[in-house]
């Protein structure tokens, strides 16, 4: 006997993502899904926000890693609420994981949640978490050809942080070529050059975050 099913395989994730999005919107909380390769500087980029975001904003961090609590402990040491999700081998976070994590956060008192996704440029881009904005990091040491190799993620983010610019003198990274390709793939995406090491670009990055937070609040009050 044949049964017609016609069911979207990602339906469960997409439903949970829509619920997360609605829940955050109700509270006017901005949630950023931060994606990058392992070692691109995700945790350092989050640290920059923690150090530089004006005190009037309250934030929390959800850390996604295959294993370990190294990142969440580092964030907690700065007195910022941090939840660690260990995916146990899975290469990306899902909306259901985020839903459980949000249960443990006091959304009433928060303005910003940054989700550090598992280090990977492929799988995280396929799973909607219910985030308000998507940000990726492309670091100088990875090379300027990455938009050619991973176009999907470059197309789908709202901002691209080009991290480790302090290493530009030592690497063959062609910024003009990188920017041109990103512009072709994602003309609306913001490209922010940043060095977590020397602090260059921190204002631009934190300014982008502040605009995103205020966007979530404006939507709430309108």
């Amino acid at each position: 006997m044949k049964i017609e099913v016609k069911k979207n395989i990602l339906a469960r994730n997409d439903t949970a993502a829509a619920e997360n999005r609605e829940r955050l919107a109700r509270q006017g909380v901005c949630m950023i899904n931060l994606m990058a390769s392992p070692g691109a500087g995700k945790t350092s980029v989050i640290m920059k926000v923690i150090e530089n975001l004006p005190d009037r904003y309250a934030m929390a961090v959800i850390e996604g890693d295959i294993a370990s609590e190294i990142d969440s402990l580092a964030i907690e040491a700065l007195n910022i609420p941090a939840l660690q999700i260990n995916t146990g081998g899975s290469c990306h976070l899902t909306a259901l994981m985020i839903s459980s994590a949000l249960d443990h956060l006091d959304l009433d008192s928060l303005d910003l949640v940054i989700v550090e996704n598992v280090g990977n440029l492929v799988c995280p881009a396929e799973f909607d978490l219910g985030e308000t904005g998507r940000v990726m990091i492309a670091s100088i040491t990875e090379g300027h050809d990455k938009p050619h190799k991973y176009p999907t993620i470059f197309r789908e983010v709202d901002a691209i942080l080009v991290n480790k610019t302090d290493l530009l003198p030592y690497c063959d990274f062609d910024m003009a070529s990188f920017r041109q390709v990103v512009e072709e793939l994602n003309p609306d995406g913001a490209v922010i050059e940043l060095s977590c090491k020397d602090g260059c670009g921190t204002d631009d990055w934190c300014g982008w975050i502040e605009t995103a937070i205020n966007g979530s609040k404006t939507r709430l009050s309108s």
Binding site: I3, E4, V5, K6, I9, C91, T94, P147, L185, P187
Partner: protein, 113 residues
Amino acid sequence: MHEYAITESIIEIVLSEAAQAGAGCVDEIRVVIGELSSFSDSSIEFYFEELSRGTTAEGARLVFEKIEASAECCACGYGFRPRSAFYACPECGSRLFELKQGQEMYVDSIEVK
């Protein structure tokens, strides 16, 4: 690697449909995949064998149907088949296009008894 989660979802959908129909065994599962969705058939098959063990879907044949991608250029309106997310319009060279089809991923039908 993300096929693990995908395969879990496929099995969940199939088992729920089979249980609703009161079926004791699933013979075939037809899955439709758009050619631009980044999921690999062989990885899904690999995980399926493991994850379906001991369920009514164990031993079911997985049949994948690929859907060709189609897109419309945002600059000149030309309709074409993009072969990757990094594809340029063959008419005007713009890389901005709206995907009409090609990212689908659904369980189409199952054969049970």
